[in-house]
Amino acid sequence: MELAAVLVIPALASVLSLSPLGRRFAAPITLAASAIVLVLVAGVAEEAARTGRVDALDEWLTCDGLGALVLLLVAFVGLTASLFSWGYIRVEHGGGGKEQHYYGLFNLFVMSMLAVPVLANVALMWVAVELTTLLSAFLVGFEDTPEALEAAWKYVVLTTLGAVLALLGFLILYWGSRVAGFEPFTWVGLGEAAPHMPPALLWPAFLLILVGFGTKVGLVPMHTWLPDAHSQAPAAICALLSGVETTTVLYVILRLFPVIGVAPGLDARPWFVGFGLLSVAIATLLLIYVRDFKRLFAFSTVEHMGIILVAAGLGGAEAHLGAAYQMTGHAIAKSFCFFAAGVAVIAAGTQEIGAVRGLVRSSPLAAMALVAGGIAIAGAPPFAIFVSEFLILKAGIASGHYVTVGLLGLFVVVAFCAVMLHINKMAFGTPGSDGSIVAGLPLPSALARPPLSCKATLALAAIPLLVIGVHVPAPLQNLLMAAARAMGG
């Protein structure tokens, strides 16, 4: 029953935010709803890790280890993002109608992401993915600047186009399972039918879904919209888009692996490795030349999605555990990075890397948060991404994929240097040196001091960031193992 409540509560919170009550209390309502959802999801995740699968509502809602992991990540970032929004939106946009509009969409957007891993019916799951785009479109364009609207337009048109291509892929999969004599259009049903489907149908279905949903994950070369959308949205929305929306859709692609991987005549692994490596390579290049620090974190998301896809493609229990761990580490670190970037934008009044030097003197909090987030996302010890990347590379060597591991290792190291170089200059650099832009003093808006809720968010989000690289609590470890098993290895 918790699974149904997890979807109903955000919907209720959305209605309440838009009702007259929301005029004053939209932010606390959203925060309370997110907290309740996180508690419920923690229970579901614990059960899924123990029993392997949680069902509800006559098996309309279902959740295995991998689904539960994604659910938990969405619920956690949903909580931190709603806390961050409280002060940020109030100060940036004032209260009233605009704020209500924001929270109405915010709750629905979170609901659509929570729905993806729990809907058993594949067609409904597709609609949920589609809704994540449509419900977040106005959040991406929320700042109402020409740039934000351009970003929102590209985001909606390209990701919807991708989703429609993926729809044909799913229809072909259903065709295949009917031909093989299977009825239910669920992940479990597809998994049972796949070995009996004609390979001539599996191939186009797989490629359509990989390319179609790959657009929404931000895989190169379909990534062009991602840095725009992920840099123009308000910081809390960026945290959701980059931290968990990409992961939620990547989850669907990873789900294909146990379905299609078991079918004769189709090997999905080289495609995962190929697309993954290409994304990591191009993202690394773009990370070197990037000039806007929110775009920096957006390109890093493309890089990480690529790494996870490579890990899934390498196959085997250890690589899949690495992939699950990397998904967790990325969602936590990337949402933290965007909260830090939000505070840095408030402190510096700009998103230009070249215009921010010596942030540690003007705003120590923003600088420390950026440095911590940067180190965590770039993958240095003692953070989780270091451990997961190490696991993935080790698993790749053990299974004899030397070329893949060599390339992946090279790109990861270059990307690490690029991220740290940019952030180091912003935090500790001297204004005017090394050709940075001296734009006079950045406009010290009324916002120059970050609101209390933003500081509280950084503190809250820092807890898992600092903990899970050093020590993975036993329940989370069980969940990661269950997720790796659900990936089919």
Binding site: E150, T160, V179, A200, Q232
Partner: protein, 225 residues
């Protein structure tokens, strides 16, 4: 089962398919925004017709549901939503500047149709399904042409119509390959398409008000320097 079981319906479906393809090519080549919309409505009507023909031939109630949903959403609701959200000024717009001129657009369109047949061929050889020989390659062709439309059209409304044409193509293939898709999936798709239109329509209005243009293909403030 083969095509000889229902020769008349087969011939009618083939004719519908040919007209369906022509409307898809029309959306690529039209300059007027309003004409694109009318072509899209015509294309949706042809999709409905194909669903009804196949419904009769296969005795499938699902396909009549698809036909009813298509008529309701794509020929009535979507044009109404677009008229409500996007100002009439936009519909009078003609695209002067194009990414590609019309002859080369049509040449590429022809190549895409050939590609659709090449892609569909192995599927059709693997599984014998009545009507898929017509609907699958033509649906794929309409899909490719829709993607191409999104790529070459610069105005907001034609880009949206290209997107919806891709959706029409998917369903044109879908009615033949999965005539018994669960009703829940059809209803879901029926909700999805109007929501896409509403969101994109409102976004178009916001862009029009903010920037004074709906030539979204020319927006280029965001890129790597």
């Amino acid at each position: 089962m083969n095509s000889t079981a229902y020769p008349v319906i087969f011939a009618l479906d083939a004719l519908t398919g040919a007209l369906f393809l022509l409307t898809a090519i029309g959306v690529v080549a039209t300059r007027q925004v309003l004409a694109s919309l009318q072509l899209f409505i015509l294309q949706s009507l042809l999709l409905t017709l194909s669903a009804v023909l196949l419904g009769v031939a296969l005795g499938s109630v699902h396909l009549f549901a698809v036909a009813a949903i298509t008529i309701a959403t794509k020929t009535l609701l979507i044009p109404w939503l677009l008229r409500r959200t996007v100002s009439s000024e936009v519909y009078r717009t003609r695209e002067i500047e194009r990414v590609l001129n019309i002859p080369s657009s049509l040449l590429i369109a022809a190549a895409l149709v050939v590609l659709a047949y090449v892609v569909a061929n192995p599927l059709l050889r693997a599984v014998e399904v009545p009507f898929a020989q017509i609907n699958l390659p033509l649906g794929l062709a309409a899909m490719f042409l829709g993607v191409f439309t999104v790529a070459v059209r610069r105005e907001a409304v034609p880009q949206l119509l290209g997107l919806l044409a891709v959706e029409n193509g998917v369903f044109f293939a879908g009615v033949a390959i999965v005539p018994n898709l669960p009703v829940i999936a059809e209803l879901a798709a029926a909700v999805d398409v109007p929501v896409i239109t509403l969101v994109v329509g409102l976004l178009t209005r916001q862009i029009h008000q903010r920037l004074g243009t709906t030539a979204v293909g020319q927006l280029s403030a965001l890129r790597e320097h």
